[in-house]
Subunit: 124 residues, 2 copies
Amino acid sequence: MEWIFRPDAPIYTQLYEHLTLAIVSGTFPPGGRLPAVRELAVDAGVNPNTVQRALSELERDGLVYSQRTTGRYVTDDAERIEQERRKLAEGRARDFLAAMQKLGYDRVQTVVLLEKMRGERKEQ
Amino acid sequence: MEWIFRPDAPIYTQLYEHLTLAIVSGTFPPGGRLPAVRELAVDAGVNPNTVQRALSELERDGLVYSQRTTGRYVTDDAERIEQERRKLAEGRARDFLAAMQKLGYDRVQTVVLLEKMRGERKEQ
DNA sequence: GTTATTGTATTAAGTGATTAGTACAATAAC
DNA sequence: GTTATTGTACTAATCACTTAATACAATAAC
C-alpha cells in the first residue's frame, strides 16, 4: 500500500480515512486480519501510536475489533460494513446539497450541473 | 448578521466563507460598501486582524477591493461574481463525485441517491 | 513456564498556526 | 492644516493538537 500524506491534515486522520475506504471497498475483506500496529507503522513511516490512534477510531466505528495478542480484525458483519458505506455516502450527499443550496442551486440545477460535468472525470 | 463560530475551524476561515457566500448570493450587492474592519470585528466579537485576514483573501479572489481611507467595496463586476459562484459550485461537485467514486458509487448511483434523499431537506 | 508478539496506556515534547496587541500610513472631511 | 476614520504591517504570545518516547499488559506459541 502506498502511503502519501498531505501536510495539511493530521496523519492519523488520513490513515483513518484510507483504512475506512479500504474496508468499505473490500480491499480488507470482512473477518480478515489487519497488519499489526508496528507493522503498519513501519510501512507508513510513522509512529506506532499514530497508527494506534487511527485504528481506535475504526474500532469506535465498529469496523474492526482487536484481540489482545493475535491482532486486529475487520468485523465479520458484512451488513455493518455496507451500512457504513451507505452512511458515508449519505453524509457526503447531504453536505453537498447543503453547500449547493447556499450557493443558490436548487436540486434540479444541482443535478443538471452534475450531468454537465460528465466527460471531465476519468472512467466511470 | 449573526456570527456563530464553530470551534473546529479557524475563525478567519469561517468569516471568509460567510462573506464569500454573502457576496456570491447578493446579500452584499456589487459595488456596495462593506462595513469597516473594526466595525465587523466588534460585530463578530473578534480581533480586527482576524477580520482583516479574511478580507485579504476576498481581495485576493478579486471579489472586493479597498480604498485606503473610505473603506472596502464589493467588486462592480457582476460577471466576476457569477463566475466565482460557478467556480465554487463546480469545485463542490467535483469533490463530491470523487468522494462518491471512492465509496464505489458510479454517477448513476450517485444521482439516484440524491433523488432518494428528496424530502429530507427543508424547502428547495 | 519462558518468550515473543500483540495491543494499550501515560506522559512529555515539539510544532505550527491562530489570534491579539500595538503602532503605522494614508486621505477624506471639515 | 488638523482630525478622524480608514486600511495595513509587524511582532509576540498563546494555545491546542499531533506526534513521539517509553513502559506496561495480555496471551499465543513453543
